[in-house]
Amino acid sequence: MKLPERVEITSHNHGFAVDPDSLKMSEVEITHVNLNDQTLEGFRHRSEPVFCVQYHPEAAPGPHDSHYLFDDFTKLMREAK
């Protein structure tokens, strides 16, 4: 899958990462990649309403570039109701 060309500035802090190769044949697809070291930052399920990111979209102090994730999440909840 081709990732969108948008960049988010985020707060993040993690010592582990999922090996992207391990997801190749799985039911999830990669949605976010860290540009600095190419580690996997987020993926979503291809058919189920499940997505995740490994950085902190909610963090303060920190920028608000990832607030759209909360909209996406509430939208999924509304659709699943």
């Binding site: 948008r6 960049v7 500035i9 540009l35 303060a60 102090p61 608000h64």
Partner: protein, 413 residues
């Protein structure tokens, strides 16, 4: 969106003679841009009326014209050279104004020259006071309150509501005649009566004054894919009312909470998108009323500015160089970070040190000049100091060799 291959020859307009308020920082930005574009295989045509600049050195551009920076000369150069594009944002206000003139005179259209960096609509929206106000209202950013009045009574009523001091500007008069700052009722009546009499349409704009408020600037960049980043926040030590060029400034901003800073960051990004600067660096200025925390946006420069030079040096992020690359199509994540040489330039520098800029004046060379600092820039140079804390940098900045001004005049009025 990689490099555009439909552009080959790019025209850069320099900023002309060195004057107070427009000095070598624009030689620096133009030179950086020319180098970046040539390194990428573009042909650079350069025009500057000032031969005492680095950018006019023989090796920096493919063709260099040392000619007056006026519409007829620029038109002739464009007719001869037929550039594909004009980079409007790296030659200071002079370069920007000339780009607008060339566009409005139809010269760019006639010879098929594309304006890159900032388009004409974006420049106008940013530079025209009323268009800017409207645009900011649309995206929910506050600007200083203002109203056009046609009578002294209406003026008194409005000023009573926004409080003193307030700023008056008579409509359609030249060079600020009929305007002024009113600190009380009596002064308001006096200035307003004069302004109404002088204005051919009998109209005066009264504006809330942000004099004495805290002043901040954010250096922002945007690419064609709409990625936006903040390069640096700068806080003015001197309040609103003292020109930024005459103010001690500190980077990063020191007295904002994260909430306030993020509010400002969000506002700056919304502003950049609404004004529509396609690519490159811009500078957005905010003021915060220390009495109640109210934040207003003051202005936006859709070009590489004096503060960009400072922000570049403070952070190591080469704003002008990257602005030039963004203008020819690259995205921020496609450009390499100049410091790490590995990671992309799409990042926000986080600095764990402070940078203090202290202006230098040469009042001793201008006997009789008014040494009070105000809204017109008077400094002729500056000192920058980098270190772990603000106080130490002040000491260093103030003890530079050749500094004979032990007492700084910082009275606003």
């Amino acid at each position: 969106m990689p490099r555009r291959n439909d552009l080959h020859r790019i025209l850069i307009i320099g900023s002309g003679p060195i004057i107070i308020g427009q000095a070598c920082e624009f030689d620096y930005s133009g030179t950086q841009a020319a180098k970046a574009l040539r390194a990428d295989g573009f042909e650079v045509i350069l025009v500057n009326s000032n031969p005492a600049t680095i950018m006019t050195d023989p090796d920096l551009a493919d063709k260099t014209y040392v000619e007056p920076l006026t519409l007829p000369y620029l038109t002739e150069i464009i007719r001869r050279e037929r550039p594909d594009a004009l980079l409007s944002t790296v030659g200071g206000q002079t370069g920007l104004n000339l780009s607008v003139e060339l566009a409005e005179a139809g010269v760019l259209e006639k010879y098929g020259v594309e304006l890159i960096g900032a388009k004409i609509d974006a420049i106008k929206k940013a530079e025209d006071r009323l268009l800017f106000k409207d645009a900011m209202r649309k995206i929910g950013l506050e600007t200083p309150q203002s109203q056009l009045v046609n009578s002294v009574n209406a003026g008194l009523e409005f000023a009573g509501r926004i409080g003193y001091p307030c700023i008056l500007r008579a409509s359609f008069t030249m060079g600020g005649t009929g305007g002024g700052i009113a600190y009380n009722k009596e002064e308001l009546v006096e200035i307003l009566e004069r302004g109404l009499a002088l204005s051919p349409v009998h109209e005066v704009l009264i504006e809330e004054s942000a004099l004495g408020w805290k002043e901040y600037e954010l250096e922002v960049m945007r690419d064609l894919a709409d990625n936006c980043i903040i390069i640096c926040s700068i806080e003015n030590f001197d309040p609103m009312g003292v020109h930024t060029g005459d103010s001690i400034t500190v980077a990063p901003a020191q007295t904002l909470t994260d909430r306030e800073y993020q509010m400002m960051r969000d506002g700056a990004l919304r502003c950049l998108r609404e004004i529509g600067v396609d690519t490159g660096g811009s500078n957005v200025q905010f003021a915060i009323n220390p009495a109640n925390g109210r934040m207003v946006i003051i202005e936006m420069n859709p070009r590489v500015s004096r503060s960009s030079a400072l922000a570049s040096k403070a952070t190591g992020f080469p704003i002008a160089k990257i602005a030039a690359k963004l203008a020819v199509g690259y995205r921020l994540d496609e450009i390499r970070n100049d410091i790490t040489l590995k990671t992309p330039a799409c990042f926000e520098p986080t600095i764990d040190y402070v940078v203090v800029k202290i202006p230098k004046w040469a009042f001793e060379k201008f006997p009789g000049a008014d040494t009070t600092l105000g809204t017109q820039m008077k400094s002729v140079g500056e000192v920058m100091a980098i270190g772990p804390h603000v106080q130490g940098r002040h000491v260093e900045g103030h003890t530079q060799p050749g500094d004979r001004q032990s007492v700084r005049q910082r009275e606003v009025r």
